[in-house]
């Protein structure tokens, strides 16, 4: 594997707070890697450690296989796009973009060529003479991007770069950023607390929880196979159950939930009968029908609709499966097929799901 950035057991403490706690990571060259997590989980601190604004209390940081743990920010081949853009207000757009080139003493004519090229890359041609305060938020964002990219860093760090933009522009910039990254092939480390953004843009995602890595994987891995309750809850929505294992065979794991439901799960060699475990099911994995019969999935129960919320493209039902267990179910409104029926509160329904859609959680 061609490793671009590696964190080896990195810990960062501020007085009392441990902002980053024993994080080990390998990020591939050219990868779009996202750090995702709730506010205060240590995303920005991790990024600042890679940039060199903070130094690790423990552990090592390697960029391009060289230990940079004690290098100053200007000694690292890394550039940052700041959340507030941090454009120099006393310099023009061109002045901002060529700031890094000037530090490298790039010859004048080459600098001019590169600046024009960079402006072109972010579609800001002919705006070189403006000052940052004369630009819109989206344009400022692009200047910040051009300023960092013109130095062709080994890694580009982005700290919630779209956080200040409105929803529509944000969606646009997401696509633009992604295609830009694919075009130039630079490693991106992208910080966000917006799970949708991380899922759509990233090659891989690291979900962080209070300074630790909760799970690292592709969008699909993380969404379909969350390891912990925290991940299952933070990414998308989930229904959580807990129960006691009654039997295990080669393909199945049988358990009885706290509410008395007999459930079939995929086999898992790590567990033994009698153990208490937690598992989750995504709300869109259920089939809900007025009559029994059409579904041949293992888990079939009769439930009662207790609440219904209209969401536009789908309907969100809350269904009671047992005295203790309510599930959230998202159903698309289809014009035909098994799900054409719209239910109302109080209806008795047949709920079923496939055993593989139950994901066993570590805690």
């Amino acid at each position: 594997m061609d490793v671009s950035v590696e964190l080896k057991g990195v810990t960062k403490r501020f007085d009392e707070v441990t902002a980053v706690d024993n994080v080990s990571l390998k990020i591939r060259r050219g990868e779009f890697f996202s750090l995702l997590g709730p506010s205060g989980c240590g995303k920005t601190t991790t990024l600042r450690l890679v940039a060199g604004f903070e130094h690790p209390s423990e552990g090592k940081i390697l960029i391009n296989n060289a230990d940079v743990s004690n290098k100053r920010p200007y000694e690292r081949n890394v550039n940052t796009v700041f959340q507030n853009y941090a454009l120099f207000p006393h310099l023009t757009v061109a002045g901002n973009i060529q700031f890094g080139l000037e530090r490298k003493r790039t010859p004048k004519d080459e600098m001019l060529r590169l600046v024009v090229e960079a402006l072109d890359l972010v579609r800001l041609n002919y705006m070189g003479d403006r000052y940052p305060h004369q630009l819109s938020g989206g344009q400022q964002q692009r200047v910040a991007l051009a300023r960092a990219l013109i130095l062709r860093p080994e890694v580009l760090l982005l700290d919630e770069p779209l956080g200040a933009l409105d929803l529509k522009l944000r969606k646009e910039m997401q696509l633009e950023l992604k295609s830009l990254q694919e075009k130039i092939g630079i490693t991106f480390i992208y910080v966000t607390h917006d799970q949708e953004e991380a899922l759509t843009m990233s090659d891989r995602i690291a979900v962080m929880e209070t300074g630790r890595l909760a799970q690292v994987g592709t969008a699909e891995e993380i969404y379909e196979y969350p390891k912990t309750r925290f991940v299952a809850d933070f990414i998308g929505e989930s229904n959580f159950f807990s129960g006691k294992i009654t039997a295990i065979d080669d393909n199945h794991l049988y358990l009885i939930t706290d509410g008395g439901l007999k459930i079939t799960l995929p086999a898992d060699k790590a567990h033994t009968a009698g153990q208490h475990i937690n598992f989750s099911v995504r709300p869109e994995k259920f089939r809900v029908e007025p009559e029994p019969g059409t579904s041949d999935w293992e888990n079939q129960f009769i439930g009662e609709i207790v609440n219904k919320i209209y969401l536009g493209e789908s309907i969100h039902y809350v269904i009671a499966l047992s005295a203790k267990e309510n599930i959230n179910v998202f159903l698309k409104k289809e014009r035909s097929g098994p799900q054409k029926t719209v239910f109302s509160i109080g209806d008795k329904v047949h709920v079923s799901w496939h055993r593989d859609d139950s994901v066993i959680l570590v805690d």
Binding site: Y74, V78, N79, H90, F99, G100, A148, L151
Partner: protein
């Protein structure tokens, strides 16, 4: 905005307050154009006193001293004050809060105390009183004012700008000169103008640390007044007031400027 009822007396009060502050100065300026030698009666307009003023070699000499002192003190105190304020802002060290706290102390210490202590200090280290000692004294009392203004500007500065500069390959010095100083510039200029004005106007401290032949304008006015108030003194005072007001207005404007 409409002013009514309860607030009416308050506006009169404010007016009276400003009148009290500025009327004496206005009278002084007016009488500097009075034909009459005796300052109490208005006899007609004249430039005579200003012309006499610029023909007086002693006054010109004092002006020269004042300018030298103010300019040198301004330059030194601005540089030292700016760097010190930046050091206090940028770096964490033991006793930082103490240093921050005692910044105001020299400002509230009575000038007469500062003056006397400086004289004793200079005598102790065997320095002859003269322009040099005036400059040192002025630099000393200018620095806290410079630091206060620069500190206010620093606190409003976006810290990530410095990080962005380093991120783009600028070392600490380059970052300071290419990013920090330009951000602070309005504050630094305002501080310099204030330092110049304070130094140009100072009487009490200068009175103590001046030697023979190092008379500044305020000292000159004082010695002239002892021979009796004349329209020439009014003219000189009016000039000093005008210079001060102009510089302070510019400084104030600069400080309000946001970018």
């Amino acid at each position: 905005m409409k002013v009514r009822g309860f607030f009416q007396p308050l506006t009169w009060f404010t007016g009276a307050c400003y009148l009290f502050l500025y009327l004496p100065i206005c009278v002084l300026v007016a009488f500097s154009f009075n034909t009459s030698r005796f300052s109490v009666v208005w006899r007609g307009f004249t430039w005579e006193w200003y012309i006499k003023l610029i023909q007086d070699p002693l006054v010109l000499d004092a002006l020269k001293n004042s300018l030298i002192v103010a300019v040198v003190a301004m330059i030194l105190s601005t540089i030292i004050g700016t760097l010190t304020a930046y050091g206090l802002y940028r770096y964490r060290f033991r006793g930082k809060t103490v240093f921050d706290g005692i910044l105001f102390l020299p400002i509230v210490t009575p000038e007469i105390v500062v003056g006397i202590s400086l004289v004793i200090f200079f005598v102790l280290i065997h320095v002859n009183l003269g322009l040099k000692t005036i400059i040192i004294a002025h630099v000393a009392f200018d620095i806290p004012f410079v630091m206060l203004i620069v500190r206010a500007r620093l606190q409003g500065m976006d810290r990530t700008l410095e990080e962005a500069a380093m991120d783009l390959g600028a070392d600490e010095w380059t970052t300071f000169f290419k990013v920090t100083i330009p951000q602070l510039l309005p504050g630094i200029i305002a501080a310099a103008l204030l330092a110049f004005t304070l130094s140009f106007d100072d009487f009490v401290i200068t009175f103590f640390v001046a030697g023979v032949g190092s008379t500044t304008l305020p000292l000159k006015i004082y010695s002239m007044v002892r021979l009796g108030v004349s329209p020439k003194i009014n003219a000189l005072s009016a000039l000093i007031v005008s210079v001060s007001i102009i510089l302070i207005t510019i400084a104030d404007r600069l400080q309000r400027k946001s970018v």
